[in-house]
Symmetry: C2
Subunit: 502 residues, 2 copies
């Protein structure tokens, strides 16, 4: 969920000053178009970790755009007047009219999340509140509201640093309250509770945008561009003077080139001897875990995704080598059969679900929906956008039924892939592994990379996290896969241990 | 929820034999069109009260249509094989392919409802299960599945009668199990739990159809026609050889002329003396209730709907006469202002919500969305169809905040309305009350009647039920309104009493 927001994005003063004027002008123009058009209202939700720059950013938005047409609301604990009415009453009153922008700070997410963090609300109650929010937002969207949701994130170290800075300066000391520190003490819990709420409410119509709040210049440009992108895309599909744009995949809103993938060091040296020792060690561990008494009431579902020639097959073989042949099955996912195309896209995966005590390995998976189908345009944007939430629901059911779900993205560099392609062509018995299509896919490398980052940010959940595997060195990749599987299994099989749910 | 299904619909042998062949032929034709087209699958859910004829009806469907292309699944308690997989697994396996019809008996609703009835599931858990179902069904619909949901209903007396009949006949005795009788003992609870599930999952895309299960011929024709209607409507909007039909309000699927409204005896005699005594009595009671200590933590929200000249104003005055002027407000709802049109349709009602200890009277209300806006075509079918669920959510929040919500439909006959119109025109000081529009609305009388019946069936909930008021006699109408308000208030203000939630 927060992976991309912890990469430590930074924007230099020069870059900021170079980019800011154009962004400002574009935002102002979009705001006036919105106003002329009066066809829809814009609701901007500002939530997230204290100290991540929510306030500064909102002030900036008011500075960049025409504040006469932006209503900013900061909600504190409900006053008597508000407390005597339904929970949502004060938020309804804050809704902007068509043509206007409403910025809602500490909105309908704040109380439910706080209530769950300090345990005044049971988990089931909290999940109901989150669900009521999803229904409410769905209604807003169907009523024509453009809903833009920002979550400002900081790593734990980042938040501590930030709060201390604020306290040092007596002009800002007042901003750090007792409550801020109390919540900091519960950072992990707060993050997990928030992650759940974000995952459940990140729908195709109103997805969350996670903001790396650590660098003021970066977050300002990122939020500004994200808002601008949302405005322009919506204005573009409004009838009247704007010509409907093709529904194309959304242009990634990028401020810098730093992404989940390119921040990895793909080649990790491992000596052969070390590899062989470790391989034996972890395969032994996996053999024990999957033969344990406790595992008979569970199941293990492994998902392998990665570029062509990333080494999925090799990694899978190193895992299955540790398993009893009667215990596991490998499901290679290719284009759907005619039978499968006649069903909802998740059907072909449901049909393979294992019984208890079994291991199921997907060589490519349901994530094809948000990878190949998105990039190749096999399904509409609305379809792959809603797929993130549907996939999370799907994995939620797997975990609820006792399965341990481990997902791997094997990451290789474009050069390494080329080397492996050439090697394959050279070896007769491997030549079948390389096709025209593989070469074509290389042309779309950047589009796939973007799809992978979005996929990890939207579907790496507390119950089924993604593991990015640096795979230019096959030894390293295989060991990391085995270690991760063993860690996930032992965590799950340790009795009495909560499976990571807030 | 079950109002229309308890009217005791009946179909004579003659009517049945006259109608059945055409229905049969049309169903078969639609089935083959579906098969040729292969553009979508049809999932028919069969749920409801035991003994209400679910089995017989499904057998009939198989007899009427080509059973080779209907897959019927009856789910019992999960077998070992099924129990070891996620809850939804066995239902996914039962999904029909495009072009096919799947009839699912005791499906994903059965276990959650039973679990809640026998209290093995907490309310919050149950509500989460229901919500997971809604998300799952939304996904099916977006994947192109035509989802037709039937709930077979019987009144308590009706179910008892039915179970006894089955037991008497030794050919059917085996069908009545211990569990059936155990559930019969909990009839009210079962009905309330089911009502909640149906309300929460009756969405615009996949609404429930409640079947009066008491008469075999009636329910057969009703289910057959409802299914046919759904099939034809969907086939009509499929590209290929079918010309897209205008999105018009759905033709009511009627087997007989019996409806909620025309089953009322609209003129109820009341003597003037009796009226005056009772009026004084109930106004006194209301005065006490609204001045009670307990009411200071609550609020009272009254909704008055009814045809023109049904006597809403007069009834409202008789209520407010009992109240302290500082305590109540009357909100007359006319066409929305420009300010209100710039907001989601519920916004203008939220803005009026009262503080605690107050009484708010809506003279017409948010139900305009599913009445005038539906009938006059001011909003699309998709919009008023989704409004039922949105309105239920809205009222859910009112009640959760402590408000008592009482909703009245004042029902008068078309003749009585004419008489009153003429009287108004005769009296100079009342002439302003009657406009051209009022006369025009009379032409759409039947459309409004249908909209009212749908409204009551879809929004008369355990937390905010509708009261139909026979209003040809104003005395009777006013007394019934006052009595109902007092009853609702005293039920709510009696400490420790659950507000009707399952």
């Amino acid at each position: 969920m927060f992976e991309s927001a912890e990469l430590g994005h930074k924007t230099t003063k020069e870059d900021y000053e170079a980019a800011e004027p154009a962004l400002r002008a574009a935002l102002l123009e979009a705001q006036y178009d919105l106003l002329d058009l009066r066809e829809f209202a814009v609701v901007v939700l500002i939530n997230g970790i204290d100290g991540a720059g929510k306030g500064e950013t909102v002030n900036l938005l008011n500075e960049w755009m025409d504040p006469r047409h932006i209503q900013t609301w900061a909600f504190d604990d409900p006053t008597g007047d508000e407390a005597e009415r339904p929970f949502m009453w004060r938020f309804w009153r804050a809704l902007p009219a068509k043509g206007k922008i409403g910025v809602l700070f500490n909105n309908w997410y704040t109380e439910p999340i706080r209530g769950r963090v300090d345990r005044s609300a049971k988990r089931a109650e909290f999940e109901q509140q989150v669900d009521a929010i999803r229904r409410f937002e769905a209604m807003l969207v169907r009523e024509g509201v453009l809903l833009v949701k920002f979550w400002f994130h900081l790593s734990k170290a980042g938040q501590k640093k930030r709060l201390k800075e604020l306290e040092k300066d007596e002009r800002t000391r007042w901003r750090v309250t007792e409550r801020d520190w109390r919540f900091f003490e519960k950072y992990e819990r707060y993050r997990d509770v928030a992650a759940y709420a974000l995952r459940q409410t990140s729908t195709g119509d109103a997805p969350w945008t996670i903001v790396d709040g650590s660098d003021p210049r970066y977050r300002a440009l990122f939020v500004g561009r994200s808002l601008l992108d949302a405005l322009q895309r919506r204005l573009a599909v409004c009838g009247s003077k704007w010509a409907p744009r093709q529904t194309e995949a959304p242009l990634p809103v990028q401020v810098d080139r730093l992404t989940l993938l390119n921040s990895l060091t793909l080649r990790q040296p491992v000596e052969r001897k070390h590899y062989e020792d470790e391989l034996e060690r972890w395969q032994g561990r996996l053999a024990l875990l999957t033969r344990s008494e406790a595992f008979r009431q569970r199941a293990l579902i492994l998902v392998f995704e990665g570029a062509d020639a990333a080494g999925k097959g090799g990694a899978i073989r190193r895992v299955t080598a540790a398993l009893d042949a009667r215990q596991y099955r490998i499901v290679p996912i290719a284009a759907p059969t005619e039978e499968e195309r006649a069903q909802p896209y998740l059907w072909r995966f449901w049909r393979h679900l294992p019984r208890q005590g079994k291991v199921l390995v997907f060589d490519r998976s349901w994530y094809g929906r948000v990878l190949v189908e998105r990039v190749e345009g096999y399904c509409a944007e609305a379809d792959w956008m809603r797929a993130y939430a549907e996939i999370n629901d799907f994995e939620d059911q797997l975990v609820a039924a006792g399965a341990v779900v481990v997902k791997f993205w094997l990451a290789i560099s474009k050069d390494e892939q080329l080397t492996r392609f050439k090697a394959r062509e050279a070896e007769p018995h491997k030549r079948f592994k390389i096709t025209e299509e593989d070469w074509r896919n290389r042309d779309k490398w950047d589009h796939y990379a973007q799809a992978v980052c979005d996929m990890v940010d939207r579907t790496s959940t507390e119950i089924a996290p993604w593991t990015l595997v640096e795979a230019d060195n096959k030894y390293f990749a295989r060991l990391k896969v085995l270690r991760t599987v063993c860690a996930a299994l032992s965590a799950a099989l340790e009795p009495g241990r909560e499976r990571g749910r807030a």
